[in-house]
Amino acid sequence: MRSGGLKVLWRRIMQKKKEAVLIETKDLAHEYGRRDENGDVTGIVRAIDGISLTVRAGDFVTVLGANGSGKSTFARHLNALLHPTEGVVYVDGIDTSEEEMTLAVRQTAGMVFQNPDNQIISNVVEEDVAFGPENMGVPSLEIKKRVAESLAQVGMQKYRHHSPNHLSGGQKQRIAIAGIMAMHPKCIVLDEATAMLDPAGRRQVLETLHRLNREEGITILLITHYMEEAAEADAVYVLKQGKIALAGRPETVFGESDKIKDCGLALPDVSRIVQKLNNAGLPIDKRILTPEKLTEALGRLAAE
């Protein structure tokens, strides 16, 4: 009875949290100067070309798009590593172009980069993970707890005294992810952070992200080339040449198979199987995106 009441209350709090907008971009554009070997600008690349979107606090958002479509550039704006050429970006209400607010923006939206080497700061894994929370002035006892927790979440406790520079590619990536988790930011932006992980590691990190999202209301923005990682998101954005080409619930987005192809992407394997089954006349719901749902649907078909 009592725990039921608490649950309702908890849900209400989470719902309230969810209604708040955490990220907002308005007509965002970003231009890079393309330089030759002497550093002279030879051309302009409009890497982001008018992106307006809102991410509510507590959302799990996936961003897809071909190589060079502007995903990393977009992510760097959420972390105030880049400032808009045109338009505005608000992170938790802060305009990212206000330079004195940069630190606050970075603490709100923690970012895991495409290459973990860019992120490694210290010579000892444990210190590396502690760096973020230390910088935020978290008390040292609490830091200890968070470091242990985050390392456990990525399965790297064993390596806490090692040097991050002497780890394998996937191990470094796990450390980078732990470093951001230890900051307990309101939002975590992951730029292809699961690309170098083994299947178990990828599952573990994704499960942790979904858990942080569900239980702590942490907003997640996941950039990935693994289509199936988008299947469980609240919203999917597909970028093409710096613009949003497709957006919506995963089932809706992957329902547009021609557009997906046109953006240099592919359907998740489950959808590809469903599509083949549909073409052969099997009545299977084409919105199915997970192996479990597909075997269930086939089980029902067999029972008919």
């Binding site: 030759d36 080497d117 090692h162 040097s163 996937g170 191990q171 075997t295």
Partner: protein, 288 residues
């Protein structure tokens, strides 16, 4: 051409507190023209193994033979080996170094002693093959997107026209279309130029789709080695060492457990879809 590793051990940081035995007693033969996938959990020794193949790293113990010749013999030319075995690094940032894309891709062939004309020709061809457009050739490779960097790193090795390609996660970070194109290119090179190809991957789906043979590593050892359909029958064992089977195999396996008449060796999208369609058609026929 063949590559043979005999009782190979590799130890990092010998005598330090980080001492790690990354490879333990590896015995392995790769024949000419094979297309081999390597899988294994994070830290299982895949990158270390690839780095031994072109002499970048030297085995702590044991021998590596290229065409029957021990590469650690005094009169063996490591420089020639590096031209014959093209290694693409796990992180393109570790490989790229020149000021412009085109210079970077030309470095390998020029260094191998090819003529300027060949160098230029091979570099342009390789860039075209990996899908890098002309607008990027004079740009600094460090200002490219992640996937563009990987393509350039791959082009740099292709341009050397090696006999063997040792590719460390070559399609990580490539978009699906790019990935398909690169694998199609690799398959074509294997056929047309008799290339031998080894690639590391964390995508079980890519291994099922493209590899003719898969080597499974666990904590520095080779624990399984064979044709993907055979290796992916070990779903439980693979799960225990941080790996998995392709999604298509998972679907086929759980359908079989539910009593569906579906063969036990479906590992790709086509194989699983075809098996389910056959099941459906057989059932319809039976019902009539």
């Amino acid at each position: 051409m063949s590559i043979r590793l005999e009782n190979v051990f590799y130890i990092y940081g010998k005598g330090t507190k980080e001492e790690t035995c990354a490879l333990k007693k590896i015995n392995l033969t790769i024949e000419k023209n094979e297309f081999v996938g390597i899988i294994g959990h994070t830290g299982s020794g895949k990158s270390t193994l690839l780095r031994l193949l072109n002499g970048l790293e030297r085995a702590t113990e044991g021998s590596v033979y290229y065409n029957g010749k021990n590469i650690y013999d005094k009169d063996f030319s490591m420089k020639t080996l590096r031209g014959k075995v093209g290694l693409v690094f796990q992180y393109p940032e570790h490989q790229l170094f020149e000021e412009t894309v085109i210079k970077d891709v030309q470095f390998g062939p020029a260094n191998m002693g090819m003529t300027p004309l060949e160098t230029e020709l091979f570099a342009f061809q390789a860039l075209k093959d990996v899908g890098i457009g002309e607008e990027l050739i004079d740009v600094s490779p460090f200002l490219l997107s992640g996937g563009q960097k990987r393509r350039v790193a791959l082009a740099g090795v292709l341009a050397m026209k090696p006999e063997v390609l040792a590719l460390d996660e070559p399609v990580a970070g490539l978009d699906p279309e790019g990935k398909e194109n690169i694998f199609a290119l690799l398959k074509r090179l294997q056929k047309e130029r008799d290339l031998t190809i080894l690639f590391v991957s964390h995508s079980m789906e890519d291994i099922a789709e493209y590899a003719d043979r898969v080597i499974v590593m666990n904590q520095g050892e080779i624990v399984l080695d064979g044709e993907p359909h055979k290796v992916f029958r070990y779903q439980k064992e693979l799960g225990q060492i941080g790996l998995d089977v392709p999604v298509s195999a998972k679907i086929a396996n759980s359908l079989r457990e539910k009593g569906f008449a579906i063969p036990g060796d479906c590992i790709t999208v086509d194989e699983t879809a075809d098996a389910v369609i056959r099941w459906y058609q057989d059932r319809k026929r039976g019902a009539v």
